[in-house]
């Protein structure tokens, strides 16, 4: 059983974000990390290795050369090898371009499960997993709080309004998991040392059978505007009151807004 975990290198969550002239995120000189939501996908894959249901974990990322640092960090947590797809033609790729590239790379890697985080911390489009599944004509099991794999099928436990649903689909497939998976492990010192010796391949577009023309400039979308979120109204605090009085005030507040 083989899993490919797709990861994205993103600017550190707390880092100051700047935009380039084309209104895309300027990544130069910003501390970069593994997309925190992808770390849950890594953790899920490694737990399946720990319990013996998966033999091989490969990491796949599309990005500039420096994204190899994220792959190396993932390898320090566990797993076997990594592939970076990097090509000058991929600069400015949007969700469609990214999905196209990942789908082609996954066709080549042919895993039983292509596993992803539920969203990226920088763009939060959440479109790539679905697009990859559609392009590869495979089932998508999304938003798993847990992923199991068996001989010829996988299933996810997904949080619903009333509890949990179990969804299953035949392999191969695409799956995404949420932060309900459990805390991602820390890389151990031996893991960090071993990661330096694990194989990492770099593929260009031609290695996955695509050309710059197929990518149509890597993006079908264009960013027309960016702006900081509007400031929220100040938080109203109800403090230093007896519990019953505080509860009444909160209930009144909610009632006047027709929330209860």
């Amino acid at each position: 059983m083989k899993i490919v975990v797709c990861i994205k290198q993103v600017p550190a969550t707390g880092a100051d974000k700047r935009y380039a002239e084309d209104l895309r995120l300027d990544r130069a000189g910003v501390e970069a990390i593994i997309n925190p939501l992808d770390e849950y996908a890594i953790e899920q894959a490694l737990r399946l290795v720990d319990d013996g249901s998966v033999e091989n974990v490969t990491y796949l990322s599309m990005g500039p050369e420096q994204a190899s640092e994220a792959l190396r960090r993932a390898l320090a947590m566990g797993g076997d090898d990594a592939v970076l797809v990097t090509d000058p033609a991929l600069a400015g790729a949007d969700e469609w371009g990214t999905a196209k590239v990942l789908a082609a790379a996954l066709d080549k890697l042919a895993p039983d499960v292509a596993l992803m985080g539920m969203a990226s911390d920088d763009a939060r489009g959440s479109l790539v997993p679905g697009a990859v599944a559609a392009m590869r004509n495979l089932p998508l099991l999304s938003y798993g709080a847990e992923l199991n794999v068996a001989d010829d099928a996988a299933r996810v436990r997904r949080l619903s309004a009333t509890g949990y649903d179990w969804l299953s689909a035949p392999l191969p497939l695409v799956a995404t998991v949420t932060d309900q998976v459990g805390e991602p492990r820390y890389a151990s010192l031996k893991g960090i040392m071993a990661a330096k010796r694990k194989p990492m391949q770099t593929w260009s577009l031609s290695d996955i059978g695509l050309s710059a023309g197929d990518l149509r400039g890597a993006a079908l979308t264009r960013v027309t505007d960016t702006r900081p979120p509007e400031e929220k109204p100040p938080t109203e605090r109800i403090e230093n009151l007896p519990a019953a009085e505080a509860a009444t005030k909160i209930a009144d507040w909610l009632t006047t807004r027709k929330l209860i």
Partner: protein, 388 residues
Amino acid sequence: MTYLPTADHDELRAMVRELASERIARRAAEIDEKAEFPWDLKDLLASQDLLGTCFSEDHGGTALDTLAQTILVEEISRADATTSLIPIVQKLGALPIILAGTTEQKDRYFPRLASGEWLIAFALTEAAAGSDVAANTMRATREGDNYVLNGSKRFITHGSIASVLTVFALTDPAAGGRKGMSAFIVETDTPGFAAPRVEHKMGIRGSPTAELTFDDVRVPAENRLGEEGEGFKIAMATLDRSRLSIAAQAVGIAQGALDASVSYAAEREQFGQRVADFQGIQWMLADMASQTEASRQLTYAAAARVDAEAQDLPYWTSSAKLVAGDTAMRVTTDAVQVLGGYGYITEYPVERMMRDAKITQLYEGTQQIQRLIVARQLLQRAGVAKRG
């Protein structure tokens, strides 16, 4: 000889810093208050392979260079000095075996020490023999294939929780401590061994400092380290290296206090401006930062001398421990001053750091002993022979 950290050192620092800030720092106040050994953090460090950095890969360790081991201690200590003693003492206790042990002794003990399954302690100090190591009185008498140990030790860090000890005892009392002392590996489940008392301390309160008693403790002769009479030499060679860990601990404590001071000064407002905007505070912060950095660089320089097996190693490690220990005391005291009343209460970490800093001026050789060592080295270099 270079001692600038490499990319590998930076990677290790980032790894330990993440672990320390996310998992260790938040436990520090509770460990201090309850004076309980943090077994959970021992397990955490073990699971991350951070207790085996001084052991070879064959023994399950990671064989990091001394600078890397220094950075490890510094980064843990920055969050909590008590927890930094776990790797410090694991190395301190093992150093006599690293320096003088046989292959069989290393094969037998190192795997369990590298994995953290067993803790080790270094049992040299006695109630009446602190700085004056040669005044030790504990006895080891040869009886057939065994040595029989009798006596007591005091101020032994982790002595009550270790599974194994390196113990120094007189095999030839007539020859005195310098010539008549030998070193032994003692497993603490040996009959006759006890740790009857743990000290109540000012700082590093989660780290048990124990009194140990040996009542006819029989140790197989194969557990002797080196030859009979080499104990003093092994102890000194150990301390020449291990005191560097204390320098690293001191640098970490100072950096932790500096970090807390800067963030407090940047947030706290008095007289309508941030505390950090007062020049009087800026001057304090600048002195704290530059002195901490000087201590760090001297400690790194000394670390490089350990791996280079420098002839004048004691000069470097004693200088580093002397400067870093005094710096930690001064910087933590100033940190309490920067925080004012808040610095004096347990709501903020700097009063704990100030109490923790004091021990770095005392253990593994007081600052006065360090000066003695530095002065002797200095006079040796100048060709001035010792008189009397």
